[in-house]
């Protein structure tokens, strides 16, 4: 029988070895390191952060009250002194409207996705891990919601239940829950049959331990990436709902709403109309690029 050479380890090395093992970096720390090296993603994050600051602290960045309108000042063009982006059709400062509007737009973008993540992630993981009847029930529910294109579902809920920010958030959450259920269920089901989950069960682990150590870290990656790209869709959709008059109601500023009301001014000043759209575009793009960067950082194989 051949002797397996023991790895010669001096007492100092042994201590270091144990120390290294004890500091075993989790998967998420690795992701963070990789993210820190990705220039594009960092740039996007910076832009978003800047936007967030400007929007939250809007009073400090604007000169005028976004609700203060005067017919005398209506539709002033870009570059008017004091109103550098011009005014809207009721005479309100466009720059203020855009910044304050950002609050509602971002809120309507992020909150539905966060709620859908919680609800959908929980239901999907539960369905994937339980299998059987629970799985069928959850997936059938998801299928019924899936039968509607997201726009239609959102319109159904807000159109019938009424407009406003609260219903918009509910509607968009309902639209986003099914795909998240699908992703987390599929990942969980696959992982559940892999040997390492069996090995974990063979170690005597209960359901919670297995989910915490073995399922979550495999599920969170894909759904986080998906959720970030969902935020961009959510912003576009919520603006669309306001555009239809189903979301935020006047006189509150919100990008989609502004897009609609400025449409009437299309024949007078076509440029003004475009601006809220530009904001939507930039924000959405930032989230999309962020999502791509996240996906690359989370890919275990790279």
């Amino acid at each position: 029988m051949v002797e397996v050479p023991a790895v010669p380890v001096s007492p100092l090395d042994a201590a270091e070895a144990v120390g290294r093992a004890q500091q075993s970096k989790g998967y998420w720390q690795r992701v963070r390191t990789r993210l820190r090296q990705d220039k594009v993603t960092l740039a996007m994050a910076a832009v978003l952060a800047l936007l967030l600051v400007m929007v939250i602290f809007a009073p400090y960045f604007t000169l005028h009250d976004p609700y203060d309108g005067s017919v005398l000042r209506r539709l002033k063009p870009v570059g008017t002194p004091g109103y550098w982006l011009g005014t809207d059709e009721v005479g309100r400062d466009l720059w203020s409207r855009m910044l304050y509007g950002g609050r509602l737009s971002l809120l309507a973008g992020v909150v539905p996705v966060a709620s859908a993540l919680l609800i959908g992630g929980f239901l999907g993981t539960l369905a994937g891990y339980s299998g059987g009847l629970v799985n069928s029930a959850v997936m059938r529910l998801a299928d019924v919601l899936y039968a509607f294109p997201s726009v239609l579902l959102a319109i159904a809920i807000t159109g019938i239940l009424g407009s406003g920010l609260r219903n918009t958030i509910i509607a968009l959450t309902a639209a986003f829950v099914p795909p998240i259920i699908r992703i987390s269920e599929s990942v969980t089901t696959q992982a559940r049959h892999l040997d390492f989950v069996e090995a974990a069960r063979a170690s005597g682990a209960g359901v919670l331990m297995i989910i915490r150590y073995h399922i979550l870290n495999n599920v969170l990656g894909p759904i986080l990436v998906y959720a970030t790209s969902l935020i961009s869709i959510s912003i576009i959709l919520s603006a669309g709902l306001s555009f239809l008059g189903l979301g935020v109601t006047p006189p509150h500023p919100e990008w989609g709403l502004m897009l609609n009301s400025l449409r009437q001014a299309l024949w007078v000043d076509p440029v003004i109309c475009a601006m809220p759209g530009v904001m939507i575009f930039i924000t959405s793009m930032c989230f999309n690029l962020l999502s791509d960067g996240l996906r690359q950082a989370m890919d275990v194989r790279l």
């Binding site: 239609l152 159904a156 019938i160 475009a274 939507i280 575009f281």
Partner: protein, 313 residues
């Protein structure tokens, strides 16, 4: 295989039932008494009660649901609160108008998408591909209804070349007068399918190109054109499937574009119904559109099963 198809069709029934339940629930969760929305408050009680009975609003909920479902199945979609005409008539003509937009948009989106995707895949790594990647991500971040507005402002306002809104003379678009108002909305609608398809085709073609059998084909001395044919043939089924789904989205989710262009399609009808709180029209339209979407989904699944035996789960 037929078992699969049969099972798939059978499975649609509970889905559609679920959809109808959802719409029904939404209607009854709506704030306010339905009748009060119809008539002014001065109206005597007897009239209000009569209306209530007419719309079966005094029965217990499950009876109402079954009655409503029964009416739906025979094609009675209700009467509009506003115009007092059967919803089915208005909806049918509105759907035709939407189809006038959806069909060309689907074809355009598909054609452009396949071309762009294939071009990008075959020219991988070059500036063309990078341009494609940039366009793709831009496309996904743009609100398409905003693009519609921009197109209107450019072509209608600045250049005054195309109409800003409305549908031209009715009937099958044959004359220039009929086609002119179609152009901008169709282009706007085609953007999303084009983006989705081009990304898919590019990924599929790239995957095909990396397969060994393509190398074998090259080694056999086949011309690039033959390779192209083989590659496209393999990439086709999933592209077609996705296109089918996109067509469903176009039919059911056209409301935003129709609002921008004031197009009297199903989206425009919904818009009007929302504005007037015309619940029968709104709920019936939503239901019909969702049903169409489910049907298209099933058709796509069945077609896929017929074409590609591997796709059956």
């Amino acid at each position: 295989m037929w078992v699969y198809i049969f099972r798939r069709l059978l499975y649609a029934v509970p889905i559609l039932l679920g959809v109808s339940l959802l719409v029904f629930a939404l209607i009854h969760l709506a704030p306010g008494d339905v009748v009060d929305m119809l008539v002014p408050p001065e109206v005597p009680r007897e009239v209000a009660d009569l209306l209530r009975r007419r719309f079966a609003l005094d029965q217990p909920l499950h009876i109402q649901y079954l009655a409503w479902l029964g009416r739906l199945l025979v094609g009675d979609l209700g009467i509009s609160f506003f115009t007092n005409r059967p919803v089915a008539d208005e909806l049918f003509s509105a759907l035709q108008n939407t189809l006038m937009l959806a069909l060309p948009a689907a074809l355009l989106g598909f054609a452009l998408g396949v071309t762009l995707g294939a071009l990008a895949a075959f020219n991988r790594g070059t500036w063309l591909d990078k341009l494609f990647a940039a366009t793709a991500i831009t496309g996904v971040s743009l609100p398409h209804y905003w693009v519609g507005i921009v197109l209107v402002s450019v072509f209608a306002v600045i250049f005054n070349a195309l109409p800003a809104q409305g549908m031209g003379p009715p009937g099958f678009p044959a004359s220039w007068e009929q086609i002119k108002p179609l152009i901008l909305p169709v282009v706007t609608l085609s953007l999303i399918p084009m983006g989705v398809i081009s990304r898919l085709v590019r990924a599929n073609v790239l995957e095909m190109l990396s397969h060994e059998f393509v190398g074998a084909l090259h080694a056999k001395g086949l011309l690039s054109r033959r390779v192209l044919y083989h590659v496209m043939k393999n990439a086709a089924p999933s592209a077609l499937a996705v296109m089918g789904l996109q067509f469903g989205y176009l039919l059911a989710g056209s409301i935003l574009v129709e609002t921008v262009f004031n197009w009297p399609g199903s989206g425009g009808l919904m818009n009007l119904a929302i504005f007037r709180r015309d619940i029968p029209v709104l709920s019936a339209t939503i239901l019909v559109l969702a049903t169409i979407f489910v049907v298209i989904n099933i058709l796509v699944d069945v077609l896929q099963a017929l074409i590609d035996p591997r796709m059956r789960r």
